[in-house]
């Protein structure tokens, strides 16, 4: 425990130190960015503009990139980016209405429809990698704490037998849980008499930082596993709790006209609008998390429409942007599309139809199963997955799908059915190992 705390503090201090290098000198950072080819600028400039809404991981990432950029001699940089600049010329970028200050749909659309798009992507990746490598030369290796992704397919979801699932990972194993699997989340969060839970552990370590522990719920169950004093130490998002905000936001998003330029303007306006009256009290004072939610909803992927898409996309974005140590993701039920109004699925079905909602357990289970797998596949994109334990609990079957990181196999044999207590104790021990 003490060692973990030290590691976490080291990591946090390193992140803050890195962030501090950039924050006071944004103008010089922007000048650095101007050295890059045009198509690389909007994303970086946007991150600088929205610095305070970035997670520590993102701030560190930008800082590191800028350090790498600064460390290159101008001649080295010119040699590095020359092929990309030449490609931009072939693509016609100088003639485009291309925003350099932020990522826009128009930018993305113009890039994607260029016949050189694939080449452009390759070149950008090459340049990014080279500049990051230059920064790495001077940086200290980051600590690699243990991580957990705990996915819950709640009891109303009739998912099929695990052995019929599309495989997630060759290391996966199926566990029969000897007891009520519904207790597992609470046991992990609250711990047991001889072992503190995740919530207490993070409350002690986090010191107000909420980027390391995420609770993402299709309904509103997970937040109840946190004591009031622990709530500020987690990024807790509930699709159900967000309903008033979602409804208002969806209504406004649906006013977006069918034009890319106008859409960019409307989306920018939505991003900067004062949403205070619609935010749930649970997100009071959490500006960064609110900004995350707005970004999440504006990036589509069904997060505004279906609760399970919200859970998957929020978890994927949290993994990408915050690299949390723990994610709890809980899938739930959605309603069936309603007669007649179901053709306008992007509309608020409760608003446009007075018919009562009817649950769709089978469809929800199909959706949840593929989306749960997507969370793990999202984690696999980042090196942190090597320290990550993934456990997907199927409450209805009292079973679980376990992917243990290399060298961290559970202490029981293949035929053993652990109790919820044993399983949660092993998970929590993994996190503090």
């Amino acid at each position: 425990m003490a060692m973990t705390q030290t590691a976490n503090n080291d990591e946090r201090n390193a992140l803050h130190a890195a962030a501090a290098q950039v924050a006071p000198s944004r103008e010089s950072s922007r000048k650095l960015i101007q050295r890059l080819p045009v198509t690389m600028r909007p994303s970086l400039n946007q991150q600088l503009t929205a610095w305070d809404s970035l997670f520590p991981f993102e701030q560190n990432q930008v800082s590191q990139f800028l350090r790498g950029l600064e460390s290159l001699k101008l001649s080295e940089l010119n040699d590095l980016v020359q092929p990309l600049k030449a490609l931009e010329g072939k693509m016609g970028v100088p003639r485009w209405n291309f925003s350099e200050t932020q990522d826009t749909m128009e930018n993305a659309s113009m890039l994607a429809r260029s016949e050189f798009y694939a080449d452009w992507r390759r070149e950008v990746q090459r340049v990014f990698a080279a500049i990051n490598a230059a920064a790495h030369d001077a940086s200290v290796p980051a600590p690699r704490p243990a991580r957990l992704i705990l996915i819950v397919l709640q009891e109303s979801l009739p998912v099929g037998p695990i052995h019929n699932w599309k495989p997630w990972d060759k290391r996966a194993q199926v566990l029969k849980i000897n007891g009520d699997a519904r207790r597992l989340t609470d046991l992990c969060m609250q711990g047991q008499s001889n072992q503190p839970g995740i919530a207490a552990q993070f409350a002690q370590e986090a010191e107000g930082q909420s980027a390391d522990l995420w609770l993402i719920d299709a309904e509103a169950q997970l937040q109840s596993s946190l004591a009031m004093s622990e709530r500020k130490t987690a990024s807790a998002l509930s699709y159900a709790v967000l309903k008033p905000f979602r409804d208002k936001f969806l209504a406004d998003v649906n006013t977006v006209p069918k034009s890319i330029e106008a859409t960019d303007q409307t989306l920018a306006a939505l991003r900067h609008r004062d949403w205070e009256p619609w935010w749930p009290t649970e997100l009071a004072g959490q500006a960064r998390l609110r900004s995350f939610v707005i970004d999440l909803f504006l990036s589509g992927n069904g997060a505004l429409i279906f609760s399970n898409a919200f859970v998957e996309w929020a978890a994927s974005e949290a993994l990408r942007r915050a690299r949390p140590r723990v994610i709890l993701a809980r899938f739930g039920l959605r309603a069936k599309p309603k007669p007649f109004t179901g053709i306008a699925i992007f509309e608020n079905q409760q608003r446009i139809s007075t018919l009562p909602d009817v649950d769709d357990p089978k469809g929800s289970a199909t959706d949840a199963l593929i989306l749960a797998r997507y969370i793990w596949l999202a984690a696999l994109r980042y090196p942190e997955h090597e320290q990550t334990c993934c456990l997907c609990v199927v409450e209805q079957q009292n079973t679980a799908y376990l992917i243990a990181p290399d060298g961290m196999a559970p202490p029981w044999g293949p035929d053993y059915s652990p109790t919820p207590e044993e399983l949660s104790a092993w998970i929590n021990a993994h996190l503090t190992a």
Binding site: A112, R113, S114, E115, K258, N301, S316, E347, I352, S353
Partner: protein
């Protein structure tokens, strides 16, 4: 599907087409005025992965395509979309035989002539002989003709969006603060009627030939009755179902030589519901089979029609940064490589042709079917067909 609901949808579709016919110079045409009598129908549907369709893991999702139609077809299992994998660009590329790189939302017309224009210019076809009937709201009426000076709207197709009529009605009701209630059909009915009664079909994304865009009172009354019936059914109405019914009604009344239908129910995938995406694939499977049955039963089409069926693209790989099946913008085989099925008149013999082909090969193939000459197209006519 419930038969009474189907009947009502058919009635609505029939009346809709009646209206277009009456609104256009009052002239109904059952036969093409010129041409060799060959008919071609192209049905494209949005993004469907091979693994969810023509693969061991997907056959169960497409029983009609796999069991009933594949044995009669020339099947191309490797069809590449090498262009922009958005709906408007893809359908424009298929129709023009050139990779189109246009505004994704259809702000500009294709930059090279479409089959509609080639057909109408070379064969002297009337506008009611070339149609595009689309479920997809990502398309616009600009897809009916190109920006090429020698061609353009004068040679364009009728382009209509039946699904959009229903969506607009529902959305309009919502915008006005009115909810839809199954037992109170008056809540939606006026919305659809208002859409139909619009002074400007283009406001709906429609582009029907001629200048007439208003409904005569008699037809309007009949249409209103059909819509009333449609609303009263209180059963799921899919946009693709309505698009299909309108398309078959157009075939019955106009017998166009060249008809393109695009379906889009499976695009619910963008919202993250795999189960609803699969339901959309099931709808395509059923409607293609019904379309084929229709083509065998309509005298104007029987034994002289070639049907092309193809997804516009696949969907992104599981685990991709673009969120897997949700989207179709990844430069991967999963997104770019799909399949195509050809049925009917031009089939030399049922077979599977594994040589890869591209979307841009479809236009020269159809051009050859109609004996169009002197087209400068990059693609090659497909093998396995009588051209």
């Amino acid at each position: 599907m419930d038969e009474s609901r189907r009947t009502l949808l058919k009635a609505t579709a029939a009346l809709l087409v009646d209206q277009w016919a009456c609104a256009r110079l009052g002239a109904l045409a059952a036969e093409p005025s010129t041409g060799a009598g060959r008919k071609v129908v192209v049905l494209t549907c949005g993004g469907m992965r091979r693994e969810d369709t023509f693969a061991d893991s997907g056959f169960q999702n497409i029983p009609h395509l796999y069991r009933d139609l594949l044995p009669q077809s020339v099947f191309f299992p490797f069809v590449r979309n090498a262009g922009v994998t958005s709906h408007y660009n893809t359908v424009s590329s298929v129709l023009s035989g050139n990779w189109q790189r246009l505004d994704d939302w259809g702000k500009t017309p294709p930059s090279s002539p479409t089959l509609f224009e080639y057909l109408r210019k070379q064969m002297g076809l009337r506008q009611d002989q070339t149609w595009l009937i689309s479920s997809n709201k990502a398309l616009t009426s600009k897809i009916g003709s190109s920006s090429v000076r020698e061609f353009g709207p004068a040679y364009g197709a009728n382009v209509i969006f039946p699904k959009q009529l229903l969506i607009n009605a529902v959305v309009h009701a919502a915008a006005e603060g009115r909810a839809v209630h199954s037992s109170d059909r008056s809540t939606v009915q006026p919305e659809i009627e208002a859409m139909l009664n619009s002074d400007n079909y283009d406001g709906l994304g429609w582009s029907v030939g001629g200048d007439t865009s208003s409904l005569d009172i008699l037809t309007l009354g009949t249409m209103q009755k059909a819509i009333e019936d449609l609303v009263r059914t209180n059963a799921p109405v899919t946009g693709d179902e309505f698009t299909f019914l309108v398309a078959t009604e157009v075939m019955r009344r106009f017998a166009p030589s060249f008809l393109t239908i695009t379906l889009s129910d499976m695009e619910v995938a963008h919202f993250g519901s795999y189960s609803l995406h699969m339901a959309g694939i099931g709808t395509v499977d059923r409607l293609v089979y019904e379309l084929w049955t229709q083509l065998q039963s309509l005298p104007a089409y029987k034994d002289k029609t070639t049907l092309f069926v193809l997804p516009e693209f696949g969907r992104d790989l599981d685990g991709s940064t673009t969120n897997g099946f949700f989207n179709h913008r990844q430069n991967s085989e999963s997104t770019r490589v799909t399949w195509m099925m050809c049925l009917g008149d031009a089939i030399r013999k049922p077979q599977i042709i594994e040589n890869p082909i591209e979307h841009t090969d479809i236009c020269p193939t159809i051009a050859s079917l109609f004996a169009l000459k002197n087209l400068d197209l990059p693609g090659k006519p497909l093998p396995g067909l009588w051209l």
